[in-house]
Symmetry: C2
Subunit: 200 residues, 2 copies
């Protein structure tokens, strides 16, 4: 049977989830698919492009509809969905972060656009809306990479889990950092667009 792009990406995602990013190599992936390493290069120009496709697969659940929510909830929901998506796969934050930095994730760009639209709604103009969106992405990816590496570190040490109905500490920390950005944006929006003021 022939090799198709979605099958390759699925197999790559499976290696990621079961063994982590260090084991996601072209040779290992080829072995799993019962093809020679060179075969992958018919479908993908290089490893970066393959990883970008895996990143976009991870981010399928990260694109949420936020129309009509108001800019605050739009930002909160988009960022929460992004965080949840990357945390739900082994080394997902690291992979998406690297693919974003390499300019290989179309989906991150899509999320960036959504966030920029929300920033515009908050009163940021043109360039500032883009800067705001990028700042939000830097925050979410930086936070989640950190969060995920800590998790995996003390998954070995197996700390007492402390689960409850309450928000976990990391949830609160995530919300706090995000609130700094959102409140800062509100200040800027109010300064440049007094009509809207502190509404929403």
């Amino acid at each position: 049977m022939q090799l198709h792009k979605p099958d390759v990406v699925d197999a790559a995602a499976a290696i990621l989830d079961n063994y982590g990013i260090a084991d996601l190599t072209m040779r290992r992936l080829a072995r799993e698919l019962n093809v020679s390493p060179g075969a992958l290069y018919w479908h993908f120009a290089n490893k970066q492009e393959l990883l970008g496709a895996v990143a976009d697969r991870i981010l399928r659940s990260a694109v949420v509809d936020v129309t009509g929510l108001g800019w605050r909830r739009a930002i909160q929901d988009s960022c929460a969905a992004l965080r949840d998506a990357v945390l739900s796969h082994t080394d997902g934050a690291e992979l998406v972060s690297a693919s974003f930095a390499a300019g290989q994730s179309a989906t991150v760009v899509q999320i960036l656009d959504q966030l920029a639209a929300a920033a515009a709604e908050a009163g940021a103009h043109g360039d500032d809306a883009d800067s705001t969106a990028r700042t939000l992405i830097y925050y979410v990816l930086g936070f989640t990479v950190d969060e995920q590496s800590r998790r995996q570190w003390d998954a070995a040490g197996a700390l007492p889990d402390e689960q409850s109905v309450l928000m976990s500490d990391t949830d609160r920390q995530f919300a706090f950092g995000l609130s700094l950005l959102i409140d800062g944006l509100a200040v800027h929006g109010a300064a440049h667009d007094p009509a809207t003021g502190t509404a929403n």
Copy 2:
């Protein structure tokens, strides 16, 4: 002559500056130092530790004295110094970002402490001051990794430089994102500590 840790780090930094992070390998470094690859493992446990030492070398100029400046300038100056330091070495942002994520840079922790102190001065308590400091670092590292990869991309294409006495666009964008965080922090500080209010 014997191999000493600072010499190894200097040689590694030289490779980084002249050839980039992809060429900073243990074997290449050993070749440059006229030793066998195994020799490096007498002085450093592994590559991560070596890279952490290089990161700390890059960050020597990133630790600035901000006592008595007030929390806004303290944050602005610390972040500007961090940005300048990583941008002054080829792939410096990527290296420092990776070393920070791997928990191998003592200097980033030091900067983190400074930022947390400034956040406390702004009215953030305990955990929130730490969260604020981490958020600032995520921002600066995310921004600079992006900025540096764009620079290197169009260093090949050699776009017209557009240098002038004016602030460059990236300087303004950096300041804008940072102002979101600073203004957000001011809102939180004012909310929890009405006495200080909007001073500083």
